[in-house]
């Protein structure tokens, strides 16, 4: 069946199976920035924003997201027009293999929208659903902290 989705602020009409997960529909249609690490809702690599909330896209049926706003990591910033969080992730060494980065960046993005000045503990808790095996999280937490600081100092929009 064909269903209309709002992905990264664009309407996309996609052919889907009624039982398909949002993760599979996104990946099958070129949104490969959404990663699959476990398909069990445990690693956060497939996190997307649905109506601004972080969701493991492997755990929701695509159908259920049809009328909602879906954002992948490319929806907040791209290679040629990166979001501040993405720039700071890259310059802080918060990215090693990068497989967790799209989900991690979205969790951080969602946190900073709700809480512009999080403590380290709040950052760690907000990223609790995102596994990373490379960095030990030290530089990821640092990147989120730095981003928050720069946004607050320069009154940069969190969008």
């Amino acid at each position: 069946m064909k269903i209309k989705f709002n992905i990264n602020s664009k309407i996309e009409e996609l052919e889907i199976r009624p039982d398909a997960t949002l993760l599979n529909v996104l990946r099958d249609n070129g949104f490969t920035e959404v990663k699959c690490g476990c398909s069990e809702g445990e690693c956060g690599a497939c996190i997307v924003l649905i109506d601004d909330k972080t969701v493991n896209s492997c755990q929701v049926l695509a159908m259920s997201a049809a009328s909602k706003k879906i954002k992948t990591v490319k929806g907040i910033g791209t290679l040629h027009n990166p979001h501040l969080l993405q720039k700071i992730f890259a310059s802080t060494g918060a990215d090693q293999c990068g497989f967790c980065s799209p989900g991690m960046v979205l969790s951080a993005y969602s946190l900073l929208k709700e809480n512009p000045n999080p403590t380290e503990k709040e950052i760690a808790e907000a990223l609790d659903g995102n596994l990373c095996r490379c960095t030990g999280y030290v530089k990821i937490i640092e990147a989120v902290r730095r981003t928050a600081q720069i946004m607050n100092e320069n009154l940069i929009s969190r969008e």
Partner: protein, 775 residues
Amino acid sequence: MFKYVKKAVEKIDGLALVTGNEKYTDDFSFDKMLYVSVLHSGYAHAQIEELDDSAARKIPGVVEILSYNNVNTILYTTAGQGFPEPSPYDTILFGKTMRFVGDNVCAVAAETKEIADIALKKIKIKYKRLKPLLNFEQSDNSKIIIHKNDGAFPKIPVYYDASKNIAAMVEAEAGDFEKAFGESKNKIEKNFYVSYASHCALEPHAAVSYIDNRGRLVIISTTQVPFHVRRIVSHVAEIPISKIRVIKPRIGGGFGGKQEVLLEPIAALVTWRTKRPAKLVYSRKEVFNSTRTRHQYKTVFKVGFQDNGIITALHLDALENSGAYGSHALTVLSNAGSKTLPLLNKIENLKFTGKGVYTNLPCGGAYRGYGATEAYFGYGQIIDMVCEATNNNIVEYYKKWSIKSGETSPIFKALGEGKEGVAMTITSSSLEECLETGSKEFHWNEKKKLYDSNFNKGKRIKRGVGMAALMQGSAIPEIDMASAYIKMNDDGSFNLNIGATDLGTGSDTILAQIAAEVLDVPVEKFIVTSSDTDFTPFDTGAYASSTTYLTGQAVKKCAENIKEQILKVGAEILGVIQNEVEIENEQVITKPGFADFRKISFAEICNYSFYQNNQFQIQATASHVSPKSPPPFAAHFVEIEVDTFTGIIKVINYVAAVDCGTPINPILAEGQAEGAIVNGISYALVENYYFSEYGKLLNDTFGKYGVYTASDIPPIKVILIDSYEETGPFGAKSISEININGPLPAIANAFFNATGKRLFKSPFTPEDVLKVLKG
């Protein structure tokens, strides 16, 4: 001193990674692609008597089924090592004997993944169940023989006895241990156990293959070892090497788990037979059950020492559970001795004995630390025990007795990679400064004194501090080879092509920094292409802490050659002789003192060499084999709290001072250390494989297994303390593995400091901790 080296240059793929722009293996799809699913054994030990795939073949959409019925029986090792591999040839892609839960039965290729999965269920298999061997301590006395009459053999001339379930055996001795131990007044003898572990790279193993326009096979793979993949696929799938191209795109972490050729031959066979693209991606459960693990170990340490703490005799006897196959069995075992015993090199009588045995459990393989992690658990505690027994300050003890620059250890020569090692004198070490600076930063003396007093008396939550000194290696000496190719472009940019495999470590960036330093050109002027067997020169791959040290030196040599060519052309254009010019800021300039200052830009030099006079392409290639494996060193300090009611150990502070030579990129070096430390802490406290009585892994999900998250980590401080390794590029050694070795012994020593009890078995789960506290 340096311009582009020792700088926190942003990873060249950084922005592309964090914007989701980079492609990983599973992100590649092709028209008419088949989806492959593998059926794995549900039994730990069984013989397949009949495999009937006729019903499955009738399902619409099923295109190919691979099993022993139609795939030749070829022995090989899945270990992605140099050739001839030191691991035994004991594996068959699709055999009739199932040796662990997760072993390959057969594979289905179909139009969709769903059809492939349905077809797997329609394959009728008649198993004859055999009694499994699940206790590795009973393996070599067992009547159950794992590799019986299957022709398994060692590829290199080493001791191997499948009839006794022995996959590997190693012995080395310096001095006379038995005599010295017998004469020792003070003796300690203890057994230590470490558990299985999964690498848990976030990206599961995957392979995608297709036939290119000229009929060649292309394999895109999540591999750490593209050139070994090409060679092993050629052997197993019986396709000439010249017909195979292997590409590693971005890879979602490896840690050794992807130094293993598991999926590629299956995808390759499907594509080669059907001439259609094929994709095989493992589920997380398949990664846990069927791929490779850290080996389970029992180590027995015997030490004899004098009243003043001087150790006169030390014997490490290691028993390694290799699991169903002997992948990396021998070399991980050797490393358990060769990466620990040289640390306290003044011990006159040293002995190492080790045995790797087969069981019907998941297979060990390469895992960051590679035997050293397993052995340091006991080694670091034994040294602590000697220090505690003889009232020695352990930090001062390590300062005094550790190997130093200008010194050697007989173990370097005695223990190699399945053969004799390479004699080596240490030419760089800042371990003493690491111990000094680390202990100061940590306030070791103050804290140790406090917790040694009656601070913990009567308290429910007890605090303690522990530390350990560590070493590893940098590359495999006189075996592993790396190479690099550089060519110049007409805007003064360069192509840097390397076979080396960036696993997310940032080696593409680090190697560009090394070339940039030689040529005095910004890093962004290098277009880096890596890990493609058609377009990049040979490299053994990303393992053995080698890329920065080994490939880095190949890149340095290559860039130096390019520099000579640029100087020659530059001098020709400027009308001076070559020794009157030098390189500066992308230009060739006349040296200071030369009467009339002249300069010419790199871009102009390349244009000249392309289009004007004495035309040629400025290009070079260079290879490097290391004559030695200089160890990085580290001193780790940890503070913990032990809840004596619940048995929960909480790490509250961690400091690691690390000598990796010159850190080519300090941020990336710190990242290596931080990642390894967190993995080491969770390995010490949580990670394990729990099996059913039939040998089935029970905790095969991230949730049940327990990978640490951001909210589990303590404050961690990494301090890099440079030394200068003359055989490494700009003084660099390795850093990727060493730091995973610290948490096990350091935390166990801290536990002793807090409670007066020793932990001999990891992980330190609350249940086990309570037992230790009671017992």
